[in-house]
Symmetry: C2
């Protein structure tokens, strides 16, 4: 399989945003229409983004634009990940 491009979220930005708006992960999750665990895992880098998260966020937080919150990340084909040198 060739190189693909995933969408990733700027977690530091989003965490700061939630703090500035005094929103808990659960409140945020409820607003964008996903479960609190989904939000938690995404903020902690344990899950990639799905269409629900992206859509829910952009649809419900009009002060957050795609460019502001998300970016692209090149994913190498299976088995070609960069290995740790340690």
């Amino acid at each position: 399989m060739k190189n693909s491009v995933d969408i990733v979220v700027n977690t530091d930005f989003l965490k700061a945003y939630l703090i500035s708006k005094q929103l808990s992960e659960s409140e945020f999750a409820k607003t964008i229409g996903v479960s609190h665990s989904t939000v938690n895992r995404i903020l902690n880098g344990k899950r990639n983004l799905g269409s629900k998260f992206i859509g829910g966020l952009l649809k419900n937080f009009h002060d957050l634009s795609f460019e502001l919150v998300f970016s692209y990340e090149n994913k190498l084909p299976k088995g070609n990940e960069v290995q740790s040198v340690i």
Copy 2:
């Protein structure tokens, strides 16, 4: 589960775009970094969008913007879909 928002693609627009650019589904798939079957299923409404499709498209086709190709769709919680009357 509450109402969630999915991202959907304007299939008519995208199909017309591919024709205008003389791109087959396979060529398009290769460019955006997903398999041809993924493209086919999305164009025919048999699959929802994933982050790879969205990211691959926006990253590789700079004349296509998020607003131009995608839109939002409210999904009702499981078991609350609108039933056919027939």
